[in-house]
């Protein structure tokens, strides 16, 4: 286990996040303000231009069926000047030479069409306005100037409004973030304290989910599931270690007893001592092999493999072993099945299962080996006519260091079936122990593991 120095947990503040969100919000609001402002500005300008066109058209409209003359225009402008009470609009008429014929604004004649003009009026400082200059039928220039206080004021307002909006936005952004962070932190607090408790060694602690909703609840549930699995794995590992310790204790105790005989002057039975050492070494060999298979550290030689010759070869090898045990090994139906697999591991699997018959059944027990092709791949069956297993043993025996009640003083590594199981899992298959009435039936299903879809499994298959 790796121990990291316990650092003071950082306070659950939001730090830079609030400022960052506040600034981002302010920038966004400033942009919105400017867009709104220019839209309003454009609208006002377009209204002024429309109004200028409207009045120009009205002044230049034909009178009693003939085109309006300059004399009539001068008259109209004079008439308007007399009648006006309050206006932001004024009319000017210039002759071809640019001399002003009518109107009271001191302005040089602008080019025909719409333009911005600057003028002095009523002794005040220079003012700006919008002008529309149009040629009259007589060739003079009619200029209508509109001076808009509103548009000007709108322009003057722009900087302060944008600034104000941004300021309000910063304050709102920071506040909202702080508030949101606080609410989030409150919800995460439960997770944090559960994590701290687990780090301190309490693996049974879970994150309370009753007060959580939405994504927080989803996350807490998924973390809790992960913790369940971890707790399972850790306790399996602990059980494995303590079983291993017990497993080693027996041969070590016997070994010590044998050696102690030498102290008391009697000869040490070297051959028996040697056997105990061999038992210890066998346990370690099996352990290393199991780890090799489960962690996928074996160099993988997954290749298309014809199972029939492999089974025939194993049968040739194991037949004399079972014969020495007083039984027989019969070979039943053997289909031609090709799978993608590791020949060395599958040899070990089959030898292992047949060795179980030779070591864990009464003398004279026979076994039958068969291979069938099914939709998924291969089904290998090893069935013996021994006493079989007790009802609860079928599942238990697949775990490391578990032995059948009938094992008696037969000493194996206690890992045989665990290794067989690991090999089968490595091939993404399944191993089942069943009742053959009488005897035990071991069924191994191995999928074809089509090379096209075969990805070499990196670790132990999920249980």
């Amino acid at each position: 286990m790796r121990l990291t120095p316990r650092l003071a947990a950082p306070r659950g503040g939001v730090g830079r996040l609030a400022i960052q969100v506040g600034i981002a919000f302010a920038l966004a609001m400033a942009a919105v303000g400017m867009i709104a402002f220019s839209a309003a500005d454009a609208w006002v300008s377009s209204r002024i231009d429309a109004s200028l066109r409207h009045h120009t058209a009205k002044y230049l409209a034909p009178l009693d069926g003939h085109l309006v003359t300059d004399v009539e225009l001068v008259e109209r402008i004079g008439d308007w000047q007399r009648r006006k009470v309050l206006s932001e609009r004024t009319y000017l008429l210039f002759d071809r030479q640019g001399r002003r014929l009518a109107g009271r604004l001191d302005l040089a004649p602008p080019a025909p069409g719409l333009s911005d003009v600057r003028f002095y009026g009523g002794g005040r400082a220079s003012q700006t306005g919008r002008a529309l200059a149009t040629r009259t039928p007589d060739g003079s220039l009619l200029v209508i100037v509109q001076h808009s206080e509103a548009a000007e004021n709108l322009h003057a307002l722009l900087p302060s409004v944008v600034l104000l909006i941004s300021l309000v936005a910063v304050i709102m952004g920071v506040t909202a973030t702080l508030l949101f962070a606080r609410l989030t932190a409150n919800r995460l607090l439960e997770t944090q304290s559960a994590a701290d408790a687990i780090a301190a060694g309490d693996l049974s602690r879970r994150i309370p989910t009753d007060r959580l909703d939405g994504m927080f609840a989803v996350q807490a549930h998924s973390l809790n599931r992960m913790l369940d699995r971890m707790e399972e794995l850790v306790s399996a590992q602990q059980l494995f270690s303590s079983n291993l310790a017990h497993e080693l204790r027996t041969p070590l105790t016997r070994l010590r007893t044998l050696l102690a005989q030498g102290d008391s002057g009697r000869p040490v039975p070297l051959e028996r001592a040697e056997r105990e050492c061999a038992a210890i070494i066998a346990i370690f060999d099996a352990l290393l092999r199991l780890a090799e298979i489960e962690t996928g550290r074996l160099p993988r030689v997954m290749a298309p493999l014809s199972l029939r010759p492999l089974l025939e070869d194993v049968a040739d090898t194991m037949e004399p072993v079972l014969a020495d045990h007083g039984g027989r090994l019969e070979v039943g139906r053997l289909d031609d099945v090709t799978i993608t697999g590791d020949a060395d591991l599958l040899n070990q699997l089959l030898v292992n299962l047949l060795e179980n018959v030779a070591t864990h059944t009464p003398a004279g027990t026979s076994a039958r080996l068969s291979l069938e092709r099914d939709e998924a791949g291969a089904l290998i069956t090893i069935r013996d006519d021994g006493p079989g297993l007790g009802p609860g043993d079928h599942h238990r025996l697949l775990r490391p260091f578990e032995r059948g009640a009938a094992a008696g003083d037969v000493r194996g590594s206690g890992l045989g079936l665990a290794i067989a199981q690991a090999i089968v899992r490595f091939h993404r298959g399944r191993l089942d122990l069943g009742d053959a009435a009488p005897g035990l039936e071991v069924r191994v299903q191995i999928p074809a593991n089509d090379p096209l879809s075969a990805v070499v499994p990196a670790g132990p298959a999920a249980a």
Partner: protein, 226 residues
């Protein structure tokens, strides 16, 4: 034979030196990679026993140096690193054999003898003969004097291996590696059972050349095949 032992653990080194002396071999000890490179003389040493976890180097790096200098001296790697990967690594670098600790001294001696007297490659399909015992690879037929019978695949490979190594000790683990190509250690007496079956078969031919070396392995005696 004169053998260079490269091993830093004094107890194990002493065990190997004494054991090999008893088997009639001379041995020189090197305790580190540098010592090994300095002590090795191609003309003087018939084989090397090489540990992997040396104080100054991985034994395989030493082996790599030797091989890159063109040395073909037979090397047996003797290591506590015994996974399939470790073995393959060792054989890839050019080890002739790989034995995992803990080991039996007879096993080590037998394997050294085997790698030091490398067999000439046998032409494919040629008849294997020891005395009057003959084995035909094409038909798996064994014959002795006037009698003949056909062996099954396993018995054929087993007998072929023993005949090719006639008069030399072949251990159980060597047979498991070379006849069965198993990388695991079985818990039952697979080799014993198969050998006794083979001996029974050969007795039917009137020939009993296989001798059991208690605790060590088997020797096929050529003088029993006449």
């Amino acid at each position: 034979m004169h053998i260079l032992i490269v091993e830093d653990d004094p107890v194990i080194a002493d065990h190997i030196l004494t054991g090999l002396h008893q088997h009639g071999h001379d041995a020189t000890l090197a305790r580190s990679g540098i010592e090994a490179l300095a002590a090795f003389e191609p003309s003087a040493h018939d084989a090397i026993v090489l540990d992997r976890l040396l104080p100054d180097a991985d034994g395989l790096a030493i082996l790599d140096r030797l091989r890159s200098k063109g040395s073909t001296v037979p090397v047996l790697v003797l290591s506590a690193l015994g996974s399939v990967n470790d073995r393959i690594e060792g054989l890839d670098v050019g080890a002739d054999d790989y034995l995992t600790k803990p080991f039996d001294i007879d096993e080590l001696a037998a394997r050294l003898a085997a790698i030091a007297r490398r067999n000439q490659p046998r032409p494919e399909g040629a008849l294997i003969e020891v005395g009057r015992l003959q084995l035909d690879p094409a038909s798996h037929r064994a014959s002795f004097r006037d009698a003949a019978l056909v062996l099954n695949r396993k018995q054929y490979s087993l007998l072929a291996h023993l005949m090719c190594n006639a008069d030399r000790l072949v251990t159980r683990s060597m047979l498991l590696e070379r006849v069965w190509a198993y990388s695991f250690s079985p818990t039952t007496n697979i080799v014993e059972s198969n050998i006794s079956r083979l001996r029974a078969t050969l007795l039917d031919l009137g020939c009993d050349p296989i001798e059991t070396q208690r605790g060590a392995g088997y020797i096929l005696r050529s003088d029993r095949c006449v």
